[in-house]
Subunit: 358 residues, 5 copies
């Protein structure tokens, strides 16, 4: 959150459509992979120039996968070639944008988030989840995907394309968009599972660990669950609109797939909501454990103190230096004093046991 | 929750409609029971092949009850015979799915949950409630029910069918679907009653038990109530849509039954909401009891300590070895010291009683 | 809540419309009072048979007041005579049902709750409020009211009928239904007033009582307020629908009365919401009082302990048996030791007063 | 709240429209002031009989201001003369009614609340805010205002009328109603300002005062804020409906004024919401202050106790009466014991300082 | 909040449209800057009289920027010249108004807030954020902006205008209004970033600082986040209405810009919501840290006390002055006593370590 926000203010006062990269990950170079396929045909090239990316007119579907959005010049030239609105270009580079969908008649613009699962999945780490932005530009026969960083998210889809493109070609570019969004949403389940594991571990330790570390751990998990929720929440509306087929760019036959995706988002919302409640319960258990631990210690102090104090008093009593203390010179004085002390201790133990303090 | 989520991520990147079983209960074998009835006719067979399951065309209603959904092959073949969409088949096997209803013109697909009431109803057990998924495929003259595990949930309906099929035949397959859903919803009341009993027991012990165990108990119950709520909540919408008769597969005459079912779901939601509030109150009472217990102990310490300390001081005072301490050599020295001590103790007791600390 | 839920599960698997009494109050016998009136005419009889209850066709309005709903046989026969749907009959006997309204063209079925105000209004009692179900069957020229128990709720209406039936006859059976519902809603105000009194008492004692009893008292009141709220909440929708005159069984001229009733329900909701907030505040005050009380005691301990400990130390110091302790053999030794002790005590008192701990 | 609720139950079972005064303020006598004005004309009389109040037919607008609503007889006679529905009359006398608007074609009936600002604005007083009911009956050329008590709320409007009636006459009776409602709403701002002052005072003292009094003070303010909110909330809907010009009794040209009034109500809601959050924060600060205060005291105890106890032990050690204790007979014994004590104390102080406990 | 509210009550009873300045910032003098531009033309003058401000009729767009709204006379004369409704003028001067939009056919009136970022951005300061009101009057070919105080908020826009007016002229006055609103909204991001920094600092210190200062700090930040949220919330509706192009004063071509602005507002709402959750977590961490700190200290006391007390008792025991205590006269007496003491201390340390208290 913080590191990204920082640069947002640099845009104050700039004209709308100004291209400013607000993220902080700088891949070495923008990498553009172009995949072209028709019913039987399949090409995959790494594009050197923007011109290589342009969709052809002989029935192929073209998927341009752009990794890295930190070069305004490249983004601007893609914008020119594909006739993209300046505000859309600005949103592509603004990697701190909220998930959303814009319907510009000629193309559909979709922003969503996934979470990088590299070293960030270590739950001992207290940072927030690192969200990565993916945006899609869906035209009639092409799809451009912009990724903030290269983490091979779309690898499985590429595999499936290589294995056979017939279904992808029949269902059109909208189905390809669905497949890519589906894989991003599946990424949420992976994150939730990792959170689930961490929560389970925490649940077992919460009742027996009393340090601030456990406390911070709970808060870190809480915040991560909120991150997932915050990324999924606006997606619900995006996919709901896609499902309702408000746009001519997505075939009616794809609706059922988006409906399925919508169900997944709802499941993610439900699960993250449940996680929040569980974490809240774990926090209660933690606080109660810490409290009970203290109570146990305090009770021990109480008992030792209340037993020792009267005994010490008796000892002090016979330590007084009065000349005329008849007990002091009797043979039975010392044993008697010991007896008094022992019976005080014994009496108190009985009293405490009766009160169920022991 | 956790154990099921685990396998969801294995589906990442698979084509939609891939059949993967995400649950963890593996019955020995899928068991298919086929029940056929017309106004007067009634057959019940255990099917060996899928072909035996197909509905006939001479006016019978066919109920195919499939127990076990972990064999992709069998599910796929049922899908082929009944012309079921690949995504529906995927959902049947995805036993971690949220309750929902899909209206595919030719059939209606409904998912709901019930809770296994075997050893899970033991409230000392701290696991979550084990939900079992049931899904229904309702066609014009057939109903297929898929159960995740065999716990004889539908036994009573089978009894009523054997007893007389006239009403079931007149009202059509939709009424059979209603009856099966009704029995699943009645299962929620059974769970709520068991929760109610456990809550009542807890309520009585909460004010007098101070261990972490009680605390965990409250949290376990809380989570179970949430589980029931989470299962019932989406059902509300499903049944509301069935009641509004949005589909031609359910006769208008059945609406009143679904309305009744809807009332039951609302009652379940209300009751679980009330349980949550009661558990929250019990938690408050528990925390307050633990606190009051500690306060009682602390008060005792305070009183004993504040009484003993001045007395011990007086004893120490006359234990000093100064040569010239006039009291030490007087006959009345010792009795006087005892008197001082006793009057200090007495004065304090009076003071504490006046302050209402005793 | 608990005692009623118990029997709900007995209905699992039964055919819809099965008549099972789920309550636990068994009046000796069902009592049926039939009141017949036209503009000038007024009869009141206690019916022995169902046939006596049937409405006539010469312009009278017939009010059949059934007290006790635990005899399935009687309810079934009433159902037959008045042509009532099986599910409605089931709901009449299910005294744990949620308030609701069903519009069956020929009759209107309304369920609502009132609270028995016998020994249950004793707020020391920690049980929940005992809600009693009343249901109404409103036909074109008759009204059947079913009461779970006889507590003379409708007495005042009967008085007004005896006093003069003109207005009742002119406005039709719907106005009679309104009058009976109005009196049930007025019963809520009575309960709220009793709760208000109990809350006021509690408010004054909360700041000065520190036992768990006060705590439980607050929770009991909380739960009762929730009970009232839960009973009133669904009523809001019922009366709103009656007011909007969705049914031909209620004359347009009665709308203004139902609107008035609706205002009352909103007022009940508002008041109970306010009570919840007040009780929540009282709980905060209680917790804070208990805490402050403990703090006062702890402070006293701190002060006595920190004053006595150094003094005792000085006493102990001069109680040591070293041969060569010059002070011991001086005449001014003892007075000096006393002075040291007194000045330690005095210094500390000054220090504490400066710190405002005293 | 409490005192007014008390009498509500007396109405149980009465016919709708029964005139019962539920409030508890009994002004000596109902006082009726009649103000008549046309474009240039202005009369103001104190009416002795109801007949003097009737609006004339020669273009004057008549404002009848009734102070005191506790005489059923007078209210009934006004009702007869102006042809007012019995339920409206009942609501006028029921001074515990919720703000609302009823549109009876011939007249508009509006209830709202303002707060008496006499001795009740003293925030040391722990009672709830005393709300006073004002109701308006707006006809085509007359306005009747009913006030529960005489606190000269409408004084400023009367001044403005005396100063010049042109605008009031042009805009019709609806504008007069607006002006009176506006002054009642301005009264809310006055209350909010007083609450704001009290909150500011409280905010400064909360961090340094630890008594239950501060706690109660916070709760009292909380409840007053809730009172204002509760009075304003239903007003929002009333004024929204007036603004949307649903009634022919209010000229379209007045809409902009009601829109302005609506903005004020929203502002009141916002402000009271903010106050609640601030009070909640103050409460957190108060609790934390009390806690920190206790912690400071406890830390002091810990340090004194842990320093004195070992020193006292050493003193006790050399107070033992063993014959053979070599140190006792040495010259360096006493200084050594003192050194041991001082070094224990010093070591502990260093330890505590290192631990940052000091 | 408080300082502004103060004067609101002075308006009680005044006629609607009365011009009263409720703020407390008094700039020396109202400063009016008039900017006129057509496609190629650009003038900027500081106006001495209202007449200089009037828009011309030869195709220029005129932006009148009024800084300071505390002179009723000037505001009234502007109102006359531009034919502005009295209530609008009142709202311009009422600098405590809620953000809103009014559509008077001839002009559009918009109120929004930004936050002064001078010395108020110092988070050690505990005051609330100082919001400054900006209002816009958008006509067909002119825009009047009213600023409460001069903080050069619109500087960047003026720069862009000077650099080139072509786009501004083509898109009309609505686009200028958008640009100015955009810069005010960007100001919110600046504030959020500063809050973010302060939150990050706080997050790191919360776990290790235990004073009330940290507590107040958290509360101050909380309140500031609420301030931002409260300012942004009504803006959401304002901009949503502008985006939906409900008014003819804003060209359809500007819609996409307002949509972008709307996204920004949603982002602000989301971020401030997240901040609230984070601050709430930090508060939990703070409370838990304070608690753990205390627990650590208490544990230390317990251990020292429970070790020293039995040892002191043994010392007291052999300090008794009985004549017949056999141990006292043995050579092994003193070493034995020391051994007993050491073994008690050792045994306790082992016990505590086994209990994991050390």
């Amino acid at each position: 959150m913080s590191k990204k926000n920082k640069k947002r203010s640099k845009k104050t006062g700039m004209a709308p459509g100004s291209l400013v990269y607000v993220g902080d990950m700088i891949p070495d170079k923008i990498k553009i992979t172009v995949t072209r396929y028709s019913e039987t045909d399949f090409h995959e090239i790494e594009a050197k120039t923007i011109e290589e990316c342009l969709p052809d007119t002989d029935g192929h579907i073209t998927w341009i996968d752009v990794v890295g959005v930190n070069e305004p010049e490249t983004i601007r030239r893609i914008g020119e070639k594909f006739n993209i609105h300046a505000l859309t270009l600005e949103d592509i580079m603004d990697t701190d944008h909220r998930p959303k969908m814009d319907d510009h008649d000629e193309y559909l613009f979709i922003i969503l988030k996934h979470f990088s699962c590299g070293n960030m999945c270590d739950m001992n780490n207290q940072d927030e989840l690192d969200d990565l932005q993916v945006s899609f530009l869906l035209g009639s026969n092409y799809l451009i995907s912009f990724q903030e960083a290269d983490d091979n998210l779309f690898g499985p889809i590429r595999e499936r394309l290589r294995a056979g493109v017939a279904k992808f070609w029949q269902m059109g570019a909208g189905y390809l968009a669905y497949s890519l969004m589906d894989i991003a949403v599946d990424n949420y389940f992976t994150i939730l599972e990792k959170l689930d594991e961490a929560i389970n571990v925490l649940e077992e330790t919460a009742a027996t660990s009393y340090d601030t570390e456990t406390m911070r751990h709970i808060q870190t998990l809480r915040r991560r669950v909120i991150s997932v929720r915050r990324a999924a929440w606006p997606l619900r509306e995006v996919i709901s609109r896609l499902e309702r087929s408000e746009t001519h760019l997505i075939a009616e036959s794809s609706n059922i797939y988006f409906k399925d995706l919508y169900d997944h988002i709802i499941q993610i919302m439900d699960t993250s909501e449940t996680f929040r409640e569980i974490l809240s319960n774990i926090f209660d258990i933690y606080l109660s454990s810490v409290n009970n631990k203290m109570n146990e210690i305090m009770k021990m102090l109480t008992i030792i103190a209340t037993i020792m104090m009267p005994m010490t008093f008796v000892a002090g009593l016979y330590g007084m230096n009065f000349k005329y203390m008849p007990e002091l010179s009797k043979h039975w004085g010392y044993p008697m004093a010991l007896c008094i002390m022992i019976s005080i201790a014994g009496g108190m133990l009985v009293f405490f046991r009766k009160k169920k303090w022991l």
